[in-house]
């Protein structure tokens, strides 16, 4: 039998024989009986007999014979598609094309796409938080949803307890600490060490300690421990459990678990590093709690500070009030500003404040003290600097005598009783860069009700106003200061802070520190309180 598929007429008639076709071919007549069968089809469909109806595969037997369209399905463990050609006499020729390889490739591609989607989702979910506990929870939840029936995330701890987050088979999260040595579980200690990287460890579920298996989980069929590789620090271990009735982990699943673990580990170690940085900053900040400044030696002190909302800013502005001691008869006030941000600025701030503190006995000579601080601060590594104002304060009768020295810092403002505002006549070189520095000290006397206002450039450089980008500037500060004539120190600070806050509105700003030194209006000396020393930095 020959069949001529429709083709352009070129004069030559090419014929294709069913027998020589390169794939299994079955020819069915109009009644669905097998009219022809080549060898390949005979081998593929051993039950098919000429003259009999085609019984299997069912998907081909059931194919429409009047207007046939391509159909596909399984034959044994292989996949075929059947392409029909209809002959003039009503018979249908079914060409069976083996699609097993194509289909498994397509299935693999779909699976790979699923894995990629999962990893992308995982990355997004993991990177959404810089909180270590949250990262551990996300890791456990994602692992249970996509990789296993239950998952544990164990983070390495210096102490003898292991922090564990469990997401059980009911998708419920719980946190606990386990007082177990990691080496009670084979492979766990290595995974927690994280370096050198260890491959996932299969564990005989029978040897798993009870704490590894969530309550009510049932029999564990397979259990795998995967290290969570961190960024140079081990981030922990991921334990995946599957129930006995589930398939064990395939190679692809295990490698997916490894890829997932790498992302989870990176996110967890980033969170851990962030937490460490935060705790360092917190430690630095805790050193420097805001002082509650009050009257000391019959002088009013008040300080106010508004930190920049820029989260990377630690360090920056600072002020200290050192009450008189046996070596220093005057109160020394220091307010300053360190260039830069973050930890480096905080370290520099700590250094300059401690140096000043140690040099208190020399506060009678500001210029000399600044020279010594400058020498201590200078380094060949960088040119970061600090600017500051020092004020030595002493009560004399009803007045307050001040010695004010600026080292590259905006000069303090003197607010007189009549509302005039003067800049103290002081100036000098910033601290920490130049080999030799100069400074000029101003001597100022405050009558009762008069104030000396120290501030950082966060006040004058605050941007805002009606246009949102205008600097607050010296003139506005002086006007605001003039309105504070005769007010107590607390009120001056509050007023200046309020005016600048209104100016800034919701805009970004740098640290803002203000400190007022006021001669009390009361006629008598107040109680002496020389015991508390306020220290504050930002």
């Amino acid at each position: 039998m020959t069949s001529s598929p429709a083709r352009p007429r070129t004069g030559a008639v090419s014929t294709v024989s069913v027998a020589s076709a390169p794939c299994p071919v079955v020819v069915l007549d109009a009644d669905g009986l097998i009219a022809e069968l080549n060898d390949a089809a005979g081998a593929l469909l051993p039950a098919a007999r000429l003259g009999q109806p085609l019984s299997s595969p069912a998907w081909l037997a059931a194919a429409d014979r009047t207007r046939p369209v391509p159909v596909s399905g399984e034959v044994g463990d292989r996949s075929f598609s059947a392409q029909p050609s209809v002959l003039a006499d009503g018979r249908t020729v079914w060409w069976l094309l083996d699609e097993t390889a194509y289909r498994s490739t397509a299935a693999e591609l779909a699976a790979e796409r699923g894995r990629t989607r999962f990893l992308t989702e995982a990355s997004t979910a993991l990177l959404a938080s810089l909180n270590l506990e949250r990262c551990m929870e996300v890791t456990a939840r994602l692992a249970t949803e996509h990789l296993a029936d239950a998952a544990l995330v164990i983070s390495p701890a210096a102490a003898r307890t292991l922090p564990v987050v469990v997401c059980d088979h009911r998708r419920e999260l719980s946190r606990s600490t386990v007082s177990e040595a990691p080496d009670s579980v084979p492979g766990l200690a290595e995974a927690l060490r994280g370096f050198p990287p260890v491959p996932s460890r299969w564990i005989d579920p029978a040897t798993a300690p009870d704490w590894l298996v969530p309550a009510g989980f049932g029999e564990v069929g397979s259990l795998v421990i995967t290290p969570l590789p961190g960024l140079g620090v081990p981030a922990g271990a991921l334990v995946l459990l599957r129930r006995a009735q589930q398939d064990a982990f395939s190679e692809a699943e295990e490698s997916l678990a490894g890829l997932f673990a790498a992302r989870a580990g990176a996110a967890m170690s980033a969170a851990r590093l962030y937490a460490e940085q935060n705790s360092i900053s917190d430690t630095l900040m805790r050193e420097l709690l805001p002082p509650t400044l009050r009257q000391t030696e019959g002088v009013e002190f008040a300080g106010g500070y508004r930190a920049s909302r820029d989260t990377e800013r630690v360090g920056g502005d600072f002020y200290d009030v050192h009450p008189p001691g046996e070596d220093s008869p005057e109160t020394l006030v220091v307010l300053g500003d360190v260039a830069g941000k973050g930890l480096e600025a905080a370290v520099l701030t700590g250094k300059i404040r401690n140096t000043l503190h140690a040099l208190l006995p020399m506060a009678d000579d500001h210029a000399r003290m600044l020279r010594l601080v400058n020498n201590a601060m200078r380094t060949s590594h960088h040119t970061r600097f600090a600017t500051l104002v020092m004020a030595s304060v002493r009560r004399e009768e009803r007045e307050v005598a001040l010695r004010l020295t600026s080292a590259g810092h905006p000069a303090p403002l003197i607010i007189r009783r009549d509302g005039t505002v003067e800049e103290a006549d002081t100036g000098g070189t910033l601290i920490g860069v130049l080999p030799t520095i100069t400074s000029r000290t101003a001597r100022v006397r405050l009558a009762p009700g008069e104030t000396c206002l120290l501030f950082t450039d966060g006040v004058t450089e605050a941007r805002g106003g009606p246009l949102g980008d205008t600097m607050f500037g010296d003139q506005r500060l002086k006007r605001a200061a003039a309105e504070c004539a005769g007010m107590p120190a607390e009120a001056v600070v509050e007023r200046v802070q309020m005016v600048t806050s209104q100016w800034i509105g919701g805009g970004r700003h740098d640290d803002i520190a203000v400190l007022a030194i006021t001669a009390p209006r009361g006629a008598h000396l107040s109680a002496v309180d020389g015991a508390t020393r306020g220290r504050y930095t930002a």
Partner: protein
């Protein structure tokens, strides 16, 4: 902050435009270093500040850093076109003279503290001697 270049045979000129602050100062430092590395035998560095916007404390710190490196390499450092705002900042911080004082090209002036981080509180006299331009410090200084 966008520096633009003009280089003569022995001079490097950078025109600075925009703000010089915490976010942009790193870039300026890099560009200056690249410019000085490229033109071997540079004797003068000119920073034209005519187009500068605001300069914050990190910006000022960076100008000092450049001034210091130039001095170390014996390159004359010039700030050109200093506007009123920058001048005010330099005067307030007491660094105007330091940054604008002419320094002879070709003579490495050492305004460096000793290389140790923990600079002891050296006496002013000892420091001043070490800070005078004119050749290397005596050994042990």
């Amino acid at each position: 902050m966008t520096p633009s270049f003009g280089t003569g045979p022995h001079a490097v000129r950078l025109a600075l435009t925009g703000d010089l602050d915490y976010d942009t100062c790193g870039e300026l430092l890099q560009r200056v270093r690249a410019a000085l590395d490229d033109g071997g035998g540079v004797e003068e560095l000119h920073l034209d500040c005519g187009g500068l916007g605001t300069v914050d404390s990190m910006g000022l710190s960076t100008l000092h850093q450049i001034h210091r490196s130039a001095g170390r390499d014996g390159i004359a450092f010039h700030l050109d076109g200093i506007g009123p705002a920058l001048r005010r900042l330099l005067e307030l911080t007491g660094t105007y003279e330091h940054l604008t004082a002419p320094r002879q090209a070709g003579l490495p002036g050492s305004s460096e503290p000793p290389g140790t981080e923990e600079g002891t509180a050296a006496t002013g006299a000892g420091r001043a001697a070490a800070d005078r331009p004119g050749g290397p410090r005596p050994a042990g200084a």
